[in-house]
Amino acid sequence: MATPRTARQKEVRRHLLVYAGLTPFLVIAVFPIYWMVITAFKQEPDLYRMENIPFWFNMAPTLKNFNILFYQTNYGSWIVNTMTIATWVAIITLLTAVPAGYALARLRLPGAENIGIAIFMTYLVPGIILFLPLSRVVATLGLQDSWWALVLVYPTFTVPFCTWLMMGFFKTVPMEMEEAARVDGCGQLGAFIRVVLPVSVPGVLTAVIFAFTLSMQDFLYGLAFVSPGDQKPVPVGVPTELIRGDVYFWGSLMGAALLVGLPVAILYNFFLDRFIQGITGGVVK
């Protein structure tokens, strides 16, 4: 076949290449999700037969697992808790990490280097040890067994990372822009808010969304600090009530994961759109 001449042929070839490249990723990422979706609607005996096809229904699909999820467990509360906690943590992270990142990146503060490194070092302390002294803090503040304990504690692992992330972003903002703003009469704060931040929106969004996601992942702190059924976040509630001894309620487990993960994925999609739009086409042409 002759080399593609027309622009149209070029386009088609490019499309095909991209789809071909994406297919393995889609398969890897999506295949387990697809299986989870099917399982969430399967009847339990359907799962336990070796002859059955895992990818489709061998017995009629059912809503029973979701019934169990919503009527026999506290799932509704868990979702609300998880989302609320994640939102609060995202806000706290935003308010602490963004200014801190800017200060460390731009303001040439003495000792900033060491403070920055110290903040990073907190990740070296494993959560499996940290949760013990933190239990004491939580109890002293009267937050034991309330999801507010998690709002207090989760920023300990979102803030360091987001601070560094913002630092990385702010470093890429040209100094000239800030200097120009200051020459124009903005103070330090003005330059930051009116010039630097708008340009760094992708970075801020990234930080927010990471903070949000990281807060949805934790299991150990949730387990240690929150025990009442209606205060738990999803990662703690689900194993508590859907794994009983050595009996797993697979259908409901899958349903639980999907109902909390899919909305967040949609959120991601929305954000990704925003900052991919800002990316120069020049990078990849």
Partner: protein, 300 residues
């Protein structure tokens, strides 16, 4: 007035901005960090209010356990292999996501899902997918003729065969986090100003030249940060292995955080658990400080 000088103003402003984050972290993590250092050199048990200083005894005890060295080796292997795959897959995915094509919104959304599902539950799904009897993966491979049928020698028992067990855990970790790597990369790409690239194009640089000389240095800080954090997260993450194999079979997939948890919390010997958990710190610390200093020094 000296305190009205530009420099003093800048510093005050700076420290004010930095204060919330620094205080938060130092209070809630700094003090517990010192506490865990104390634990590592004491004979603390979970239920005992009183603990005594024992020097490096806990570390010595860890050295003597051959399980410890197995866990150490597994942790390193896990980290390196996972990092390689995440780097490769993340980069490829980032490039692909940048492309303009039909259906890109949907596909972007789908590809990100592994990262958004709570670990505790998504890992459980993998547990079933790796199941010795009902594994979906085996079902597909077996129907495709690539492996034997159930019960035969070539039916992989993902979580039961020593080499496969660790690989299976690594695979789940990679599956979960490569979207994260891709996003960090994408975020990095956004930082590159259009003008610089256009100027380079006008000057006649090829794609690869542009990538090497312009793009890479500019995204380097963000890349490094992503890589470092991923390293630290991976080394201290116990959920994947804990939920899939508990470190089995016979310690084939045991990694340091799991061992630390089993000894420190489940068996109650806090001192030794802390020593094991903190073991990697003196090794990582110098490396991390070097890299971080390096990042900070890069100016345009």
């Amino acid at each position: 007035m000296w305190w009205q000088s530009h420099s003093a103003q800048r510093k005050t402003f700076g420290y004010t901005l930095l204060a919330p984050a620094a205080l938060y972290v130092l209070l809630l993590v700094g003090a517990p960090f010192l506490f865990s250092l104390w634990l590592a050199v004491s004979d603390a048990n979970v239920g005992d209010p009183v603990a005594h200083f024992v020097g490096l005894e806990n570390f010595r005890a860890a050295w003597e356990m051959d399980t410890f060295w197995i866990a150490f080796r597994n942790s390193v292997v896990f980290l390196v292999v996972a990092a390689i795959f995440k780097g490769l897959l993340g980069t490829s995915l980032a490039f692909l996501l940048l492309q303009n094509f039909r259906g890109k919104k949907l596909i972007r959304g789908l590809v990100v899902i592994p990262f958004t599902l709570p670990i505790a539950i998504s890992v459980l799904s993998w547990k079933w997918m790796y199941d010795s009897q009902f594994s979906v993966i085996n079902w597909v491979l077996s129907r495709a003729g690539l492996i034997g049928s159930y019960g035969s020698e070539s039916w992989p028992v993902w979580l039961g065969q020593p080499h496969l067990a660790l690989a299976a855990c690594i695979a789940v970790n990679v599956w979960r986090t490569f979207p994260f790597s891709a996003i960090v990369l994408l975020a990095g790409f956004t930082a590159i100003p259009l003008e610089v690239l256009d100027a380079a194009k006008v000057d006649g640089c090829t794609f690869f030249q542009r990538f090497r000389h312009i793009v890479t240095p500019m995204i380097f800080p963000i890349l490094m940060i992503g890589f470092l954090f991923d390293t630290v997260f991976t080394l201290s993450d116990l959920s994947v292995v804990y939920l899939l194999t508990q470190g089995g079979p016979a310690n084939a997939s045991k990694i340091l955080p799991v061992l630390a948890y089993q000894i420190g919390i489940q068996a109650g010997n806090l001192g030794r658990g802390a020593a094991i958990a903190l073991f990697l710190v003196p090794l990582l610390l110098p490396a991390l400080i070097l890299v971080l200093r390096n990042i900070k020094r890069r100016e345009w």
